[in-house]
Amino acid sequence: MVPPRKAPTLSTSGTGTPRGGPPDLIDEANRLLLDRIRLGLWLVLAGVAAVFVGELALNHGTRPWISIYQAANWVIGALALAVLHTPARRQFNLAVAFVTMLVTVAATGAVGVAALDATTPVVLMVGLALTSSMLVPCGPGWQLGVVLWVIAVAIWTVASIVPSPRLFWLQYVGTIVPTLAGTVVIAYALQRQRQALDDAERERRARERGLRDANRRLEEEIDQHRRTEETLRFAMRELDHRVKNTLATVQSVADQTLRGAQSLEDFSHAFRGRIQAMARIHSALAGRRWEGLQLGELIELVVGPYRNDRDSVSIDGEGAFLSSDLVRVLGMALHELATNAAKYGALSTKAGRLAISSQVEASDPPRLRICWTERDGPPIGAPTQRGFGMRLIEEALAYEAGGRVGLQFARQGVRSEIEIPLRTGSG
């Protein structure tokens, strides 16, 4: 037995077509409802006809009113069957079915009054059984149970009232067997309908779940897109900021280089060298997503181009990872040392040697020491004036990174000691 529960779309409450469901599902439910109603009406007609024929055969001409009631009942049932053909007219179909059932019950009641015999309860019970089996919105097992119970009461009533066995069997075969058969068919149809609806419901849920999943994925994608756009906008602003700063720096470098230049050629050479160094540092930093560079990489980048041969520059010591800000300012200082060495110092002759060593002192914060030692170059003297290049070496690191720079123009070569606190800002 199927447990009692409300069939999802077979409610008789008259709300019309269920909203929200897929159209094919609604069509299917309406069609099944109409089938049920028509089957019920066919059974009513069969039952009424059987009793009508029995009445004519057994009591021909003696009780005309009974035949008239039954004929009227039959005609109304037939008319109802004639107008019930469109599944989509759900309200109309249900109303016609109810009216026909009420007419049946009323007619059989009238027959019972006129006949004063068992025909009344039997047909009344059959009518009720059909009504309940057709329209009560609960599970087919329960509907079948109701019908069986009604039939049992009808049999008991007939058996206790009807005087002749012949009449009993006629009424029994004429009404109860079709009713029982119809009910079984209805129960089977209901079961199938319920199955179909359940399947459809499952499918609908799965589809809904699929849609929800797709929707969620889409929302996630949109979200991702929005985040990307935000990041991009931020990056654009950051880029613009950098470009403006770079332009400001380039303008300043030009101004300051021009101030110290002896000639246009001198300016061009120094300016180009500084811009080239800035460009190389920029490219290397961009390649590392602006996170920074290893000290060794930076030295190679800035000093490398001034190497005369393999042995002219030696680099050794501890490496350290430098933030991009530090790379920028230390790179410019090293560039100035290197151009100076290439112009006047150890890198201006084949014999000259430059040694760059580094170590990281484990203090708090750790301090990076770089020792720049030139030897075997031409003899040099102290510069006559402190130009922009020297300020870049001596002051820029102190200004931006809190470093200390010692610079000595010894006879055997330039010597510079650079000391920078790592991992802290300037100050």
Partner: protein, 125 residues
């Protein structure tokens, strides 16, 4: 050109980039102004203000990813003169009450800077 002069004006430069600060210093000195200090960050800027008499300050808005606003606010509330230097987008860093302060775009045009400083000094504080 000869009308523009910063003779005797004591100026504080707050700018995180040494090269830019150095060039500004020379620029201002070219117009006979006196750069009393250059500061790459807020801490050194406040220290310099405490130590030196300053007539007008030149403030880079974005100091190595730190906003110059606390310093500008302090100067603003004390009624002291200052001019902003900014790159694109830096304006977003400024609160509404500082947006109508004099502001110059980077890279700065020398004559504009000098004119902005002169105008500031000519106006009542």
């Amino acid at each position: 050109m000869s009308a523009l002069s910063l003779r005797g004006v004591r100026i504080l430069i707050v700018e995180d980039n040494f090269v830019v600060a150095d060039a500004l210093k020379f620029l201002i000195e070219g117009y006979e102004g006196e750069v009393v200090a250059m500061a790459p960050n807020l801490e050194r800027a406040f220290a310099a203000l405490a130590r030196h008499p300053v007539d007008v300050s030149v403030l880079d808005i974005n100091l190595n990813e730190t906003s110059v606003v606390p310093l500008a606010d302090a100067l603003h509330s004390e009624g002291r003169r200052f001019v902003f230097l900014s790159g694109y987008g830096d304006l977003d860093l400024l609160p509404a009450h500082l947006r109508d302060r004099p502001r110059l775009d980077k890279p700065v045009e020398p004559e504009r800077l000098v004119r902005a400083l002169s105008d500031l000094l000519a106006a009542p504080a």
